[in-house]
């Protein structure tokens, strides 16, 4: 129990130290020992404060303390996270020993908020905190993976299983048309410019997620997507702790959930029927499908393997007298479940702070990390991602030659309908180098000075250095494209990225109480600057596959070789007033003003105010009689935040000076204006109202939280499409409005106490949005498969609705058709515009909204049981009502017999007498007929992707009788991604969303497209925690 609160306890100390004041006349010393009522052992780290002052000390390792107080009338207040607070009047005593009892809800927990901390009970915004301890056993590389299912109102999806990548985090459904939607990550007060994928989760002490505008508005023009505050580890007061955590596991891709493709016999049978139905002679290789019995080449399966994952972390913390320090060394090694993919992270963090004098404290955090990541080009469209390629490669094409070696490439004669040649994808996975090496250095330094009582001035300098080297090398013997015979041209890409970001923050906080009126005032200004130098070289035709050097290349590809510089700067002023009366009526107001280089010259500064208020009803006299209620708080907030993710130079009309011409045989340098200027360009504005209620009942056995929010995002940053008669395709502008609203519920219960302790944490979130307006004269924006339209939710799947196939000639004659293309047995699309024919393209064609990538609700539930030395937890997460667009069907259900097919194509329409199941249409008529079904996006591509995933099960055992060597030792076993309950049939990952080029998630306008991606593995692992 104690350990669980370790980190929060430390935060309390931080808070106490922030209020640390110069000694004044003190004439009486009190000593004593604090023990736990539970086991009568000394409690280290208890705060002992003289009531009404900021004079306080902390108990030592044995629970002893010594404090000078102002006199006999003083009262000592003892607080300790997780234990009930006690007040003891001095009354002439010189020794006060007390026994503290556990208090399940730990009411005086301190939580991290923007630019400071606050007592949790007094928070008036929507803030959720997670103690990293409860995430410790999950054997994954990224902290966001560990947070899945833990946070109300935060949807976290793993969009691809590539090691170290692919997490999409959306707070309160926030999204934008083209601005980024990732939350702002703030590590130890520093808004970092990259993601947090590189951060070793073991360095984290706790996480605060700020959701409403009152909590986030101090981050101004970057706050609209929500803010995630991360604190890294500091020591437990008075102690030196050494802990070593390790886990090792194996990962595999479950059979269930894989796409059901045809085996060799089924495929040959399909081809045979294809030619028969067409009235053509059946090519010899398909005449007897049974010859392929037991001879299926499962290309997809051949790319997968069972792979190990290992994690080692050594943490040393020391917190003694004036110096507080911690060090975390981590090594994470994950081999991927796709062959030749691996991910390594070496990380180190050293945090220290030192009290120079009673008024000055300095601190320094340094956190270098090195990540090496090699992943074959697994994700992406046909001809880009090898998993997609493998999926649709003919199962009769041999992976191996008779001698056991890999085939080079496969192509059957044209009369078999094999129009593309296929490289050996196993070779592609093994030989293509696709490697990234990242060096990351995050540093924070601060100086804190307290010139007069209650006033703390803090100045900090933070820097983030990021250096990344990407290398792609595709030798002559491998390719990830289709229809490229081997040997082919070798080619390479090198990319170097060098980022440097620094931030200077200067803050002053003044805290003062007048009677029952408690004030805290924050003021400050900050300056942040970012620069990225990027260069890319693309080359081809190397003299030797073994020497992929630039000088070894016959061609440097000019179009793919370039430099880029990206810079931005941000100057901000911020202030906040926190006031409460009797600790019961709570009020906070804040304002931030941001000037950004990204905004147009006519619109350079933005102001982001917020107000919030709360009332702790349960502290009122009239509530004292209502025994079961230990906390009843209502709160409300309103504020304005911004999103400045618009790219750095979008306001300018840029000249592209690579628009070169030729005259004769000479190159003539050319230039063209490639974008339109907008001096009025600015940030996206989100105005959010939040109302919430916090309830704790039955001595905190049950606590409940509810939040309602409504927010409107206006001035959406968007490259508004303009008619290209202008010479341009778009214009960066602030347009439109989206309304978001939602409900969040969280329920924590302690079901049983004592030796068998069972707790349940559950949350459920309902997020909704609707497009209120787009640009003037524009009521819709098309994505590739999506539409964003006024009056509808954002980014909906858009295409044709179908009603089976034309069953017979009469059906065909009496139904609207695609002129010249529809036949008996072809897909029957609905004539939605009522013009008697089916058309595809333009605003007035026959397409409609077919589905939505947004869930009706998402939920998570964690059960934790402790029994004696055993601990057991189960985490489940779910999503209901969302859909995916199964994009790979345009190949894997291509009725022309060009690719391998999903098994359900067996049940296609074959004749009027044998109409199949009405899903897939006739193969007769070639692309002119079958092309409609696969090229005109329609509702056959849409699949329900609701799921419930038993995300993690962990069983741990804490060893007895190890005290001689360790303070504690625990072993555990865990299973990650235990089982997914879902009806989704398009692939193994119902959270998938991948862009056609295989990078990133689909982005805001094109979410939820399954083009087959790296599968998310199931992981069986065992682990060990040792504390010395």
């Amino acid at each position: 129990m104690k350990k669980i609160y370790t980190s929060l306890k430390t935060l309390c100390v931080v808070f106490a130290l922030l209020l640390w004041l110069p000694a004044h006349a003190q004439d009486k010393t009190i000593t004593g020992t604090i023990t736990s009522a539970d086991d009568s052992l000394g409690l280290p780290g208890v705060n002992v404060v003289e009531k009404g002052t900021t004079n306080g000390v902390v108990t030592d390792f044995d629970g002893k303390y010594s404090i000078s107080v102002s006199g006999d009338n003083a009262t000592l207040v003892f607080t300790y996270v997780g234990f009930a607070m006690q007040e003891v009047p001095v009354n002439g005593k010189t020794q006060i020993d007390i026994s503290m009892a556990e208090d399940a809800t730990a009411l005086d927990e301190v939580v991290l908020v923007g630019y400071g901390t606050q007592i949790k009970r007094q928070v008036t915004g929507a803030v959720q905190t997670i103690d990293a301890q409860e995430l410790a056993d999950i054997p994954v590389s990224q902290v966001t993976q560990k947070l899945q299912g833990k946070l109300a109102g935060v949807q976290i999806n793993q969009t691809t299983g590539k090691p170290g990548q692919g997490m999409s985090v959306r707070i309160r459904g926030q999204l934008s048309v083209s601005g980024g939607s990732d939350p702002l990550y703030v590590v130890d007060g520093f808004p970092i410019t990259g993601g947090i994928g590189a951060l070793n989760p073991d360095e984290i002490q706790d996480i605060s997620v700020l959701k409403d505008a009152a909590s986030t508005s101090l981050y101004g023009s970057r706050a609209a997507n929500g803010v995630v505050l991360i604190t890294t580890k500091t020591g437990v007061p008075g102690e030196t702790n050494i802990s070593f955590n390790t886990s090792t596991g194996i990962q595999q891709v479950p059979q269930r959930g894989r796409i059901d493709m045809m085996d060799a016999v089924e495929f040959a049978q399909f081809k045979k029927e294809y030619y028969t139905d067409q009235g053509d002679p059946v090519p010899e290789i398909f005449q007897d499908p049974s010859q392929y019995e037991g001879k299926t080449n499962d290309w997809y399966d051949a790319l997968l393997r069972t792979a190990p994952v290992q994690n080692y972390n050594l943490t040393i913390t020391s917190n003694k007298e004036k110096l507080r320090s911690s060090m975390v060394a981590g090594f994470f090694k994950q081999d991927g479940v796709v062959i030749n993919s691996d991910y390594r992270r070496y990380s180190l963090r050293a945090n220290m702070d030192y009290l120079i004098s009673d008024k000055i404290r300095i601190g320094l955090n340094v956190a270098p990390s090195y990540i090496k990541d090699n992943t074959p080009r697994t994700d992406g469209e046909r001809g880009t991602g090898i998993l997609f390629n493998a999926l649709h490669t003919w199962p009769i094409m041999p992976i191996y030659k008779p001698d056991g070696s890999l085939t080079e490439f496969n192509r059957f004669p044209a009369e078999t309908g094999n129009i593309f040649s296929y490289a050996n994808w196993i070779t592609s996975a093994k030989q293509i180098v696709n490697e990234t090496k990242d060096v990351n250095l995050l540093t924070n330094a601060f100086l804190e000075y307290e010139p007069i009582e209650g006033l703390i001035i803090k100045t900090s300098l933070n820097a983030e250095l990021y250096n990344s080297r990407y290398e792609l090398f595709s030798p002559t013997t491998a390719t990830s494209s289709i229809n490229v015979p081997i040997p082919t041209d070798s080619r390479a890409v090198w990319e170097d990225t060098n980022d440097f970001s620094w931030l200077n923050e200067n803050l002053a906080t003044y805290t003062k109480s007048f009677g029952d009126h408690n004030f805290s005032l924050l003021g400050g200004f900050t300056f942040q600057k970012f620069r990225r130098d990027f260069n890319r070289v693309q080359a081809s035709n190397f003299a030797d596959d073994r020497l992929p050097t630039i000088q070894g290349a016959a061609n440097i590809d000019r179009n793919g070789t370039y430099d880029r510089v990206q810079e931005w700067s941000l100057v901000s002023f911020l202030s906040r007033l926190t006031y409460n009366y009797k600790g019961r009526y709570l009020f906070t107001a804040s304002v931030r003003s941001d000037g950004s280089s990204r905004f147009g010259s006519e619109n350079r500064w933005g102001t982001f105010p917020s107000v919030s208020a709360g009332w702790i009803i349960s502290d009122e006299g009239f509530m004292e009689s209502v025994e079961p209620v230990s906390l009843l708080k209502i709160r409300a907030s309103y504020g304005v935040t911004g999103n400045n993710n618009i790219g750095n130079y979008t306001q300018y009309a840029l000249i592209d000076n690579t628009v070169n011409a030729a005259f004769g045989n000479d190159l003539a340098p050319g230039s063209a204006v490639t974008s339109l200027a907008n001096p009025n360009l600015g940030w996206e504005t989100t105005k959010q109202f939040d109302a919430g209620i916090d309830v704790s009942l039955f001595n905190d056995r049950v606590s409940f939280l509810y939040d309602y929010y409504t927010k409107n995002t206006t001035n959406l940053l968007y490259n508004v499409q303009v008619p290209q008669e202008s010479g341009f395709s778009n214009f960066s502008d602030n347009i439109g409005e989206i309304h978001f609203w939602g409900h969040e519920f969280a329920l924590n219960t302690i079901n049983t106490t004592g030796k068998f302790r069972w707790t349940t944490n559950a949350n459920i979130s309902f997020n909704r949005n609707e497009v209120v307006a787009l640009a003037e004269g524009i009521d819709r924006v098309y994505g590739r498969f999506h539409i964003t339209k006024v009056g509808e939710p954002f980014g909906q799947f858009y295409g044709h609705l179908s009603d089976g196939v034309y069953l017979n000639q009469q059906d065909l004659d009496s139904s609207p058709q695609v002129p010249g293309r529809s036949t008996v047995g072809s897909i029957k699309l609905l004539d939605l515009n009522g013009d008697g024919i089916i058309t595809n393209g333009g605003d007035d064609d026959d397409r409609a909204i077919m589905g939505s990538p947004f869930p009706d609700f998402t939920y998570g539930i964690t059960n934790t049981i402790k029994y004696g030395n055993f601990d057991f937890s189960v985490i489940g997460t779910g999503s209901q009502g969302n859909q995916l667009l199964v994009r790979h069907l345009y190949s894997t259900a291509n009725l022309d017999g060009v690719f391998n097919l999903v098994n359900d194509v067996k049940y296609r329409f074959r004749s009027v007498e044998n109409p199949g199941r009405g899903f897939y249409g006739t193969t007769v008529g070639g692309g002119n007929v079958t092309g409609i079904e696969r090229d005109w996006i329609n509702d056959r591509f849409i699949a329900d992707a609701s799921y419930f995933n038993i995300r993690n099960i962990t069983l741990g055992y804490t060893l007895d009788g190890v005290d001689r060597f360790f303070k504690s030792a625990r072993i555990y076993g865990s299973i990650q991604n235990v089982y997914i309950f879902t009806k989704y049939w398009g692939g193994p990952n119902p959270e998938i969303s991948v862009q056609p080029d295989g990078t990133g998630d689909g982005g805001n306008l094109s979410q939820g497209v399954d083009i087959s991606g790296y599968p998310v593995p199931r992981i069986f692992s065992v682990g060990l925690n040792l504390n010395f």
Partner: protein
Amino acid sequence: MKNKFLFLLVLGVLTVGCEDELTIFPEDSLSEPTFFKTADDFEQAVNGAYVPLRQINNQAKPYLAEMHSDNTYYARNTAFGATEQQEDIADFAIPSDNGITANNWVGQQYVLDYQIIARANQILATIDDAEFDTSAKNNLKGQALFLRAYAYLELVQFFGSVPLHLVPVAGREDAALPLSSEEEIYVQIIADAGEAAQLLPPKSEQEAGRVTSGAARTVLANAYIVQKNWAGAETQLRAIIDSNEYTLMPIYADAFSGTTDNKNNMESVFEVQYKEGAEGLNGSFLYNFLPRPLTADEVGLITGTSNPQPLNGEGNNIPTPDIIAAYEPGDLRLEASIQYITASESFWRDGVYPIIKKYVEPHALNGNTGMNWPVYRYSEVLLFMAEALEEQGKSGEAATFLNEVRTRAGLGDASGDLLDAIYRERRVELAFENKRWFDLVRTGRAVEVITAYGNRIKATPNEYYYPEGVEPRANAFSNISLRYALPAAESSLNPNF
């Protein structure tokens, strides 16, 4: 106290410095306020305005102006789908709804022409205020005017009424204009081409490959001819002929550029310039005009590259039996224009197809050619002249220009109706040079010729490269209209259509 002062000082300095710190111009790109000042800037901008022509002539225009006629067709590959975009053009079956179509190539042609126009407008809006040498300025301004006129001439011939942009678009408000009538567009073309003809130097004084006063006069004459202003055309054409800047190449096959040699030769009035190599200035239209599938070896036989790659999909712009039959016996141009190749994996007959020979030139690397695209050749100036004269009843002089062209082709003087003879001559002399569809439309023969052609294809599909037993699509030749429908993507953004 000292610390506090220092603190305030830092605060003050940072605040004052804010606006400067917040103004960051991109380091890797020039931006508009600093550009369009010097002669060099304008030369670069003019060069940039030529660039879209490369893409236009590599694919879109040959499909829309040549394959959309009885000169070429596609070679149906039944193993391959997703070919409707091209087939719809060749089959006169472009789905269109209220004058709007989603066809890719139609959209691409439109967008690229307007890209030229926008770039020219940007130059023309600022060049008069820039201070540099007058003759250099006139030359650059003339090129910009030429390019704008030429782009509008393509647009008006393909689409009819289109928006008329003459000044740079500044923002969203002025991006969409209403459609201007064909007459208004032609007035602008004639004004721009006329001014360009005055500003531009003759070919002998111009850098090879850039447009000249002769090229501007040809565009002007072309516009007059479409408008049936025969006298206007005659004036311009006579000026070109009398300039002595041009002459026919003695051998027809030599009129067309090689991958590096014979570019902008003495017959060339205006060529779209391509350059072989890794700079991205190359063409690949030869490859787009080959039947498929072709094995790597078969491709290598045609292109002579060191790294031939197989071709798949469906081949476009394949000469029809009609065009082959249009050559008179003894016409030397037949052999110079068409050759036969073998596609052994084809399902059509023995896989021996005719292809366009004009653009077959050996080059180094697969898919990367430097052959220029002939837009205007002197022989067309002569045929334009013959037509303009004949239309004015000056048959005698008309015949001399016509026969000059015929003589080089190894043919005797024309016989029969002279106007018909001129039309026939244009068809074979300028075959595969994106002239046929425009000629059919402007001479009022399009519907009649294409209807008959469509009937022939439907009656004998196997003659038109359909494998045995494969029929043309049901909607083939169902939509023979004289103008292309406007692009759907533009329609959804422009409230005027």
